[in-house]
């Protein structure tokens, strides 16, 4: 028997510039501004990329095991995965996120206006309505908004970047006849892999406890009416980092039960690659062999 240290390189490789950009925030407001600016920039860049996707992937040599992509989603995936190695993402993906961060850096230094949700609970408690025969529906918080470079002009408010508008343009491109009042299946999914790096908590003298994740989540709240979903993947984190029980959540609206969280996904399963041990045919020697046991448990 030998003691050994195994070097654990990660795959897929990190989008280092994006990670570092998110983790620079020193205050809660800066973290929220960065999150909103990043999402604005991302939706602008994704729309531009999809509008020129065939030009973008022209000349890419496909790996021998992959078919030519037909769907726009598969074409975008090709752009995001081509040339990726253990040490770094492919050049196309790095260029894409360089472009996103260029826009985001421009956006985040613009004036910001946040239309926060109005907390109705206090008003409701002060009013003290008579006991109804059936419990009233809980009061819904208003939908927040997030805009950058909002300037008052003679014609009213001039907004240069509005998070909902940027996502709306992308949705109109993806879904024919898109109407934000309707419900649609997920049209775009943001996947934040190894997202526990965003969950380190900080305490702000003014705003109290916050993390990069909590502020990103607040920015995602702005677009909760759109068919845009996010998935936070984590290896070393805890489920509570992303989906805490209501009493321990930073959000007051979650603590008071006005809002809830979508439960975590846990159906990855085990033994996907396992060989079937057929009763009467599989011997004890066979099922205890390394070749059989190596295919049990985790798939990778």
């Amino acid at each position: 028997m030998v003691q050994a240290l195994i070097l654990k390189p990660g795959f897929p490789a990190a989008d280092e510039n994006v990670r570092d950009w998110f983790l620079q925030s020193r205050t809660k407001l800066e973290a929220f501004t960065r999150a909103g600016a990043f999402l604005c920039a991302l939706f602008v860049a994704v729309l531009d990329c999809l509008q020129h996707i065939d030009d973008q992937i022209a000349g890419i040599e496909l790996p021998p095991y992959e078919d030519q992509p037909d769907l726009i989603a598969a074409k975008f995936r090709l752009l995001m995965t081509v040339g990726q190695t253990f040490s770094q993402q492919g050049q196309r993906r790095r260029e894409f996120y360089d472009g996103v961060l260029r826009i985001a850096n421009n956006v985040r230094f613009l004036d910001i206006i946040v239309i926060e949700a109005i907390h109705q609970t206090t008003l409701y408690q002060l009013w003290s309505p008579p006991q109804p025969s059936t419990p009233p529906r809980k009061p819904m918080p208003a939908s927040p908004g997030l805009s950058f470079n909002t300037v008052r002009s003679a014609d009213g408010w001039d907004v240069r970047y509005d998070l909902k508008e940027e996502l709306g343009k992308l949705m109109i491109y993806l879904i024919e006849g898109f109407n934000v009042l309707h419900d649609y299946p997920p049209a775009i999914i943001l996947s934040f892999d190894e997202a526990h790096t965003l969950t380190e908590a900080s305490t702000d003298d003014v705003d109290g406890l916050w993390s990069t994740f909590s502020e990103l989540r607040r920015a995602l709240r702005v677009i909760h009416s759109f068919p845009c979903f996010s998935v936070f993947l984590s290896t070393t984190g805890k489920v509570q980092q992303f989906t805490p029980d209501a009493l321990h959540d930073i959000s007051t609206r979650l603590q008071e039960g006005l809002l809830s969280l979508i439960p975590p996904f846990c159906e990855l399963g085990f033994d996907q690659l396992a060989e079937k041990a057929i009763n009467g045919k599989a011997t004890l020697e066979y099922v205890s062999s390394l070749s059989f046991m190596a295919k049990l448990g985790r798939p990778l």
């Binding site: 028997m1 030998v2 003691q3 050994a4 195994i6 070097l7 654990k8 390189p9 990660g10 990190a14 994006v18 990670r19 095991y65 989603a73 598969a74 975008f76 995001m80 253990f86 993402q89 809980k138 819904m140 775009i188 999914i189 943001l190 996947s191 892999d193 190894e194 997202a195 790096t197 995602l220 909760h224 068919p227 996010s230 998935v231 936070f232 993947l233 984590s234 290896t235 980092q241 992303f242 989906t243 609206r253 979650l254 809002l259 969280l261 979508i262 439960p263 975590p264 996904f265 846990c266 159906e267 990855l268 399963g269 996907q272 062999s289 390394l290 070749s291 190596a294 798939p299 990778l300």
Partner: protein, 100 residues
């Protein structure tokens, strides 16, 4: 004390072979099962599992049929080494490559 590097080739190959299971479909159904009129704070979910469970692969598989924007935020400096006790070197090779 030995310092070993897990075979990167095996991991890369595992991403190239045909996907087994329906976790990617289940993930999409999980997201789609929460319509906008629910009182959700935001439309997000999480997958928290050990390394090697296939989280990233499930999302990659999903991205072949649905638009997924992938971001990997790994900090390479944390959790870089895994301490293990192993038997003969041939055992390690079998365990890592999955071949008998």
């Amino acid at each position: 004390m030995l310092i070993l590097t897990l075979p990167r080739k095996a991991t890369l190959q595992s991403w190239a072979i045909k996907y087994v299971g329906n976790a990617s479909v289940s993930l999409y159904e999980h997201l789609a099962s929460h319509p906008k009129d629910e009182d959700n704070y935001a439309r997000y979910t999480s997958i928290v599992q050990s390394s090697g469970m296939g989280k990233s692969r499930a999302v990659d598989e999903l991205s072949k049929t649905h638009l997924v924007v992938p971001l990997t935020l790994r900090q390479e400096s944390k959790g870089k080494f895994l301490r293990i006790t192993i038997g003969p070197s041939s055992d390690l090779k079998t365990r890592v490559s999955g071949r008998g």
